[in-house]
């Protein structure tokens, strides 16, 4: 999931749609994020490549909307509602997720297991 500067990033992603839950005055999603281009990537326990400054899901609150939408801990968020999350600061990412006017966020996330699944499926069905 690392990138080479100048080259397009490719990843196998899953679409996840989370309906925000209203709690009093706040809309919550029920997960926590970590990372960002202003953060130290070496401290990210989920990233494969320790120079990856992307946004990762660090915790999913059980019973929350994120868990219901099958967001998993360790997922890397690539897009939020069409906004790119691979090259943003931590606060920018948080803001894109917590916009007051939006009831739903559509994420594109990637995880290691997805890549593996795709690879496996490709192996099983070799192209002619």
């Amino acid at each position: 999931m690392s990138f080479i500067p100048g080259q397009p990033v490719t990843a196998v992603v899953q679409r996840i749609e989370i309906q925000k839950l209203r709690q009093g005055a706040n809309l919550i999603l029920g997960f926590s994020i970590g990372g960002g281009i202003d953060q130290d990537p070496g401290q990210n326990p989920f990233s494969e490549d320790k120079t990856d400054k992307g946004i990762y899901v660090t915790r999913v609150s059980p019973g929350g909307p994120a868990e219901a939408a099958d967001l998993r801990m360790g997922d890397k968020i690539m897009q939020v509602n069409g906004w790119d999350m691979t090259m943003v600061t931590h606060d920018q990412a948080r803001k894109k997720l917590t916009k007051k006017g939006e009831d739903v966020v559509r994420l594109l996330v990637t995880r290691k297991s997805l890549e593996q699944v795709v690879k496996q499926s490709m192996c099983n069905y070799p192209r002619p």
Binding site: N26, I28, G30, S32, G34, Q39, D40, Q43, R59, A93
Partner: protein, 695 residues
């Protein structure tokens, strides 16, 4: 034939019995000469040779790069010292030979044979700016080009070296913190400053690789690597001939494998460069870019060169004098004890006042403008008077002094003349006494973390601002955290298996400790068992399907429990939080204090979150805990983890993690937006906090 400044003096009469004995070789003539100087130098040379042998052995034996560099540095210093002593010995022998030749009076030394007084010269705060190319600075690939550098300072016969500094492209200046003091320097001194550097990259074992192999290697490797290798292996055109050329007296320098220093730059400082403040001087750079030991020097060196001539700091002359009163009758004289030092003649009532540091009765200024002359013989006393005239403002003030005897008068005049001569020789140093700081006993260098980013050295001035101090503490704890070793299995972990009653009891015990701001040892003891306590509980945490993880993650937001945020099943990871026991006691009690203050500050908040930044007293209070009482087991975990981690830590991480506060079912409330943004800012400024935000 007799020179005043020659201390070694002995003539043997021709045809005397002594001469016969000398001829027969029974006695050496040198026995009768003052050979103390000779033997001094000889002793020094022997000492340095022994040091050098030791350094060679050490160099051959040591395996680590740092040790090798240090040993090579001492080798270089010893070699230079040996060379200096040898040349001085040579000079002295030549002088002795010259002395035996009868001299004409015109060959005598400087006029009047007067020598200026010696002085102390100190050079400190050497700083050599570097000028890295921006390409060099920003390139991320490849290893850092590092050099080990040190300065060699030579004045007269004294040679000192500074500490060794490793320089790479993250440094903008080479700074040497040492203060070097040369004690006996004449005003015409030449202080030679030499910068030696040695490439400190991979193990290119220097010197012993045969040329053919070297050229083969360098041609087969890539261009830049080969160039470096070649430069490291053969000194080539870059290094000067450091072995002293053709001096016959010199012993051959043993060639030792290992790092070798080369002269990179040098300059010579003299009296004209002396000033009480920092000055910049030019450097002459030897070597070019092709050399392995090359560093892009800006071309100048800044330093503080101060000089204290002895005439300014020591008593040049002292004795009893009689001073004529300015007013009143002409015959009244005041007996004083006068001391000539620095730019004044201090007159004390009694001799004892000098030692007692009592203020002198009066002081007569002696400076460049003072005029001293001996007046005509006083008809009454047959002793010449000494008149000292000074210009104060527009008017001229004259003091008249008399000594007790003619010899005294003569000696005082002599002293005054010598003083004037010294001042004329030392020039600007005599305007005011320059401050020379004695080098203090070396404090061990503070341990710097491996990552050398500027943030890590940034110190936020701690005011009464709680959050700042707590941040600093959090950072310190995190630092310790990251340095701790994983996998320390503690035997007392078994004590803290799932028993909640036990843990509750333990909680009381530890909180009672905390609340008392007790001496740190019990605090620490309670802490260490607590942290691994969390570890077995982690298993419970992750399996617990309720809101435990939420609350826990809020409260146990210390860097120790940083890892709680990612409740990894692997115990290795969680065990790393056992380090708080290593904290210094001072931090702990400060943390405890902070926690009380913070608890008080947040008292009005009344949120679960706030209560988890425990003032120890609030832990005992039923109200805040009652909010987590339905999850009593977890509450003990939380309290424990909170009390084991300090509130300071939790605050710093809570800044990030709590900023967009949200909760599932528990009565959380957001802290005020202003406080939150301030904490956010600070959390964001500290790159060591890997921020997590809840959305």
């Amino acid at each position: 034939m007799f020179c005043r400044n020659q201390t070694a003096r002995a003539t043997v009469a021709r045809g005397s019995a002594l001469e016969m004995e000398i001829r027969r070789g029974k006695f050496r003539k040198s026995v009768f000469l003052d050979t103390s100087q000779d033997s001094d130098i000889q002793k020094k040379i022997d000492h340095e040779i022994r040091m050098r042998d030791g350094a060679c052995k050490l160099l051959a034996a040591c395996s680590q790069r740092d040790q090798a560099l240090e040993a090579a540095k001492s080798l270089q210093t010893c070699s230079t010292r040996i060379m200096a002593y040898m040349s001085e010995l040579q000079r002295m022998k030549e002088a002795q030979v010259m002395q035996n030749i009868p001299r004409r009076s015109s060959d005598a030394g400087p006029m009047d044979g007067r020598l200026p007084c010696k002085g102390k010269v100190a050079i400190s705060d050497l700083r050599i700016p570097l000028m890295w190319k921006d390409t060099e600075y920003f390139k991320n690939k490849g290893e850092l080009h590092r050099c080990a550098v040190f300065c060699l300072l030579q004045l007269g016969g004294e040679i000192f070296d500074t500490d060794m500094v490793i320089v790479d492209r993250t440094l903008t200046d080479i700074c040497f913190d040492n203060t070097i003091i040369f004690s006996e320097a004449s005003p015409g001194f030449q202080l030679r400053v030499e910068l030696y550097s040695c490439c400190s990259e991979d193990d290119y074992s220097a010197g012993s690789t045969p040329r053919k192999l070297a050229s083969k290697l360098s041609s087969s490797l890539g261009r830049s690597a080969g160039k470096k290798l070649r430069a490291a292996m053969e000194p080539g055109p870059c290094s000067p001939v450091s072995n002293g050329g053709a001096a016959p007296l010199l012993l051959p320098v043993p060639s030792v494998p290992g790092p070798k220093y080369h002269l990179l730059a040098h300059t010579t400082l003299s009296l004209s460069h002396v000033q009480d403040s920092f000055r910049t001087h030019d450097l002459t750079i030897s070597g070019n870019e092709e050399c392995s030991y090359w560093l892009p020097l800006y071309g100048s060196v800044c330093c503080r060169l101060a000089a204290q001539p002895h005439c300014m700091t020591q008593q040049m002359m002292s004795g009893c004098l009689k001073v004529k009163q300015c007013g009143g009758d002409r015959q009244s004289w005041t007996k004083v004890y006068a001391v000539l030092k620095g730019a004044s003649l201090s007159c004390y009532h009694r001799q004892e006042d000098v030692e007692a540091n009592v203020e002198p009765a009066f002081t007569i200024g002696i400076n460049k403008e003072t005029r001293i002359r001996a007046s005509e013989k006083d008809p009454h006393s047959k002793v010449q008077n000494i008149c000292i005239s000074n210009q104060y403002g527009g008017e001229e003030v004259t003091h008249t002094l008399t000594a007790d005897s003619r010899e005294d008068t003569h000696r005082w005049m002599e002293a005054f003349w010598q003083h004037f001569y010294d001042m004329s020789q030392w020039k600007q140093c005599c305007d005011d006494v320059m401050k020379i700081e004695l080098p203090s006993p070396r404090k061990p260098a503070p341990l710097t973390p491996k990552q050398g980013s500027l943030y890590h050295e940034m110190v936020i001035e701690s005011s009464d601002n709680l959050s700042t101090v707590s941040d600093i503490l959090a950072r310190r704890m995190q630092e310790l955290e990251l340095r701790s070793q994983l996998g320390t299995s503690s035997p007392w972990m078994s004590v803290f298996e799932e028993n909640s009653t036990k843990s509750a009891g333990f909680r009381h015990q530890c909180t009672s400790h905390l609340s008392g701001h007790s001496p740190c040892t019990p605090h620490r003891l309670t802490r260490s068992p607590m942290s691994p306590h969390r570890c077995p509980q982690l298993g419970l945490l992750s399996s617990d399907a309720s809101l435990t993880s939420d609350s826990d993650s809020h409260c146990s937001t210390s860097p120790c429990s940083h890892h709680h945020g990612w409740p990894e099943p692997s115990s290795n990871f969680s065990l790393s939080s056992s380090s708080p026991s290593r904290l210094r006691p001072r931090t702990l009690s400060l943390d405890a204090k902070l926690s009380t203050l913070r608890g008080r500050g947040y008292g009005g908040g009344g949120t679960f979150q706030c209560s988890c930044q425990p003032p120890p007293s609030s832990l005992l209070a039923p109200l805040p805990i009652s909010s987590c009482s339905p999850r009593s087991q977890r509450s003990t975990q939380t309290t424990l983890s909170c009390s084991s981690s300090t509130s300071s830590n939790s605050s710093s991480n809570s800044e990030g993690s709590h900023s967009p506060e949200s909760s599932e079912g528990a009565p959380f409330s957001r802290p005020s937006p202003a406080r939150r943004s301030l904490r956010n800012l600070r959390a964001r400024l500290d790159p060591r906090n890997w921020l997590q935000s809840q959305v």
